[in-house]
Amino acid sequence: MEREVSPLNQQASGDGISSAIPDRRTYFFLAVALIAGAIIALQITVMRLYSISGWAHFGSMVISVAMFGFGFASTIMCLGQALFERHMDRIAKIGLLIFGPLIVLGNVVAQHAQFNPIFLLADNQQLLNLLINFLAYAAPFLVGALLLGIAFLVGRQYFQITYAADMVGSGVAGLLCMNAMLWLPPEYLLGVPLLLWWGGALAWFRARSDRNSPRLLMLAGGVAVALLLFLPQIQVSPYKGVSYAAKFPDAERIYRALGAHGLLEIYSSSYLHFAPGQSDMASLTMGDLPKNTYLGMYMDSEGPIGIMKPLPPDKRDYFHFLPMSIPYLIKPNPESVFVVQFGGGISTRTAMDAGAAHITVAEGNPMIPTAMASEAVKAFTGDLFADPRLTLVPRDGHLFIRDTQRRFQVIDLSLADSSGLSSPGGFAVTEKFLYTREAIAAYMRALEPNGVLAVTVWNKEDPPKSTLRLFATLAAAGRADAGDRAADSFYAVQVFLSTATVLYKKGGFTPEEIAKLDRHAQDMAFDTVYRPNERFKGDATAMLSGLRRMVLEKGHASQALDERAVEEGEEGLDFSTTTLYRLMLDRMIHGEDAKLIAAYPFDIMTLSDDRPYFAGFIRLQDLPSLVDRLEIISDEWGYLLLWLTLGQAALAGTILLAMPLLFGWRTIFAPQPGKLGILGYFFALGLGYILVEVSLIGKFISALGNPVISTSVLITGMLISTGLGSLVSGRFLKRSVTVMPRVFMAIASILVLYGVMLEVWLPVIGTLSWRTAACILLLFPLAFLMGFPFATGMSWLAKLGKEPFFLWAWGINGTFSVMGAVMVPLVSVSLGLSANLYLAAALYLMAWPCFFALLRPSPGSSSLAR
């Protein structure tokens, strides 16, 4: 009886699902949309769970492997096509019934098989757990991919609509999932893909007129929900900050909230202490602070960021010992202060302590002011934002400052990233728009005459890397702002392996101010590394070439272990951090930095809005000389892991591509012309699309404020627009030969235009109240056109009877999508975000001739010519 509803039987009639009555076709498209939605919701949810319970960048690695389920599914279906088609309906039914329970079960298994990156290299059990994570998540993705593959086969005669349903379903599900994160506790977040799966399966069975399976589906749904409710879906690693805080004997979680930025938790405990960058001299003169002075704030279990209560008057000398207080030495009681990021509020309290009349404080994460306004936190800190001196700007500080006409006496950018500039433990490559040349130019522009910009950062590398990248950026912006007076406008101090502070004063420092800063540096035992009117006289060339040899050349590592060599230095040169800072700041501020930057053993090029990264310090050509000494670049492991992931993606992709080639090139594909063209076409589309999508997520953060919102807008906006493009492309199918070249040209042109202009447009859009809508509008034409090529190509494969290629092409597309997602951060760090767009433009132009190869008719089939 079931044979009557078999897609094969229907396909054999040449009309697939179209023989079904129209409302069944609607159910089919609904099923495709919901199943595709379930897959993307699963992807987003798993990434979210990884962020909270473990390590996010491993989450993307696991997901990238899981997404190979698409390539794998297409390969299986391509190779075993005959067998597969015989049992396709049964496979679909089983797949639909197990998909939901597998989603939950896979997560439970992965959460139990926890691994910790710090043990990964040395402990085989940890590697095994990582493998279990790969497999646990690969299982549901593989099933999901098989289901979509079947759906594509069934709906191939209406591929534009099927693909549109896939895209729109994914886009809407992405939005749904992102919204669910705002109110659904993370432990129940898998409910979103489950709901979509269940609806999708029901719609599928309706479309297939299958009356028995819905009963089994009820049972499968019950099992999945029971697993979700009764098995722990999230187990926070004991090595994350919040796990440790929870073990303090008097620890109490006083606040927990979900939001677009993640899970925010605040703990109180007398065991929490914060004084970032505090002078060691505090121990000689400062009394103990009262117990329970701090709360610890954790985002996605990472932290803590300190929140402090108001200090009693006799304990206020605490601020005096912090580097954040330095600008107020020369600007006491300032009229106007701008604090670029509120964070836990220590900079704001320092400004208040310095007698600031009015403080404007920006915070791009709306969850933090909300938490500060909660009764639980207010009971501890008082109602900080009720202070009439304070004005909160609920946006990223760099966006506010680029837009404002206001001017400030002091602008403070202190330890805005709680874990330092580069973050190897969490996200290997993250955009830091607060520190780009454009942002710093805006801070400098927003200073009153004689106003001071103070930038304090963690100073934890030896030899320094990220701080020098920032110093190069500050110096470049300072030279542009002050011209000839730049050399008089900077003053910098550091505490060895603690913090570094750079001051920039509009109009230059007076001798009295320099004397005051010198005295303070001496009192606090801060090390002055740049002061006006004092040139560094060392031999820069000898120093840097010696440093380069020491860091990069083999043999020097073991030689340096000799204590005499350490004390005397190679060739008697001083490579201490202080000396390096003195040399580099001197040359950078005096505009003599070009050769210096090139000679430094690490890449310390300035940051721009197009390349806003504190990552990728190792130049590619130097990497081979470091592979046997990876421990000396441990802070780059996260970035190197991306290369490893790319290698893994390339290997898996090659295997998946090679399998049909090895087994089928001469048999399955033999009579089909244009094989290489088809391969090239779907390679170009798979890689091109994802390069655009992922790099635009990075670009749009500069307008939308944070990665979560940017991801949400991009996924939803792009996929829905692409879906619409796919739908509309059906109307032009017969005119493909004339229309598609124009489409490719238009896509490539828009990409180049975006590459050049987004840097100008996005900061302006970021100042609009309707910026989300503006971003979607900006995306629409590009994403709409990008819906044409894939749907048109697949439709022609189906029309031309190139059946074997149909699934293979889909697999190629999926495989290169995974590779592209990993390539984006690597390309961006090396060449800038826009480089991805130019690369994508080239790929879409490459697709143009490939499209005509794809159109070459199969022997005996209808051809375009006819």
Binding site: T285, E302, W458, D462, V566, S634
Partner: protein
Amino acid sequence: MHPPRKLNKAILLPLMLLVLFGTVAAYSGQDASSDNVTQRMPDDTTKANFVEYMSKNFGHDQKFLAWRYDRYQSLINNKDITRNKEKKAFLLTAREEFTLERNKSRAYDHAFLDIDYGVTISGPHLVMRMTSALDIQDSDKVLEIGTGSGYQSAILAHLTPHVYSVEIIEPLHERTKGIYKRLVQAGSAEYANVTLKSGDGYYGWEEFAPFDKIIVTCAIDHIPPPLLKQLAPNGSMVIPVGPPGKQTLLKVKKEVDAEGKVTISRQDVYNGRLSVSFVPFTKTGGGTWSGKSPL
């Protein structure tokens, strides 16, 4: 009554003296023989000699002894230990006693190991590098912040009888206390000199201050002023400092000159060869910072 009393006295006094002498002799003999073993450098001429010596004198498991010797050689090669006193401390301390059962086979690996509670036992290289950096003298009073597994304080106990250690996690403190109790009962008397408490190490241990050396094995974003205060003049401290997850191991010296001026200097424990995550980094050059206090 008198004669007998005299007689008694006459007999008892020598008897008592004899018993006293005998007891003292017996105990001192026992101590002397124990000290001879625990204070003497074990035979490290070859692996076989070492294993035989240690298993005969201390009853340690030969399998672990062989691994301990291999790790010992690499610590010497890497200059994590250079002086005899630290070499002896490493060789005499059974690291396997301080690791979890499931990790015992990796006790001497060059790696962090999990000890539950979200805490690790640092690798032998790091423990010995921190110990060597402090150059502990046999009369030094040492404070450890972060008892953890107890392995670091066990090493310290072989260097000085004045070891104080504070652990923040109460159940971990209790477990480690239990390990010490068991080891003392089994004959490792030197561990009885380790004084433990559970509490907030940020405030040091005022009651026993000042300390000649302080070793901090848990991370913080600044050097706690109470610890610097409790550091004796000319004392030194090793401490990992930095933002969450990104600490650097520093050696901090507090020097007081004849005029009472205090100088606090910071130095990378690895002289620049360590930057993050307790992994060795290669660098020459000073990396030394110092500043005069306003006092």
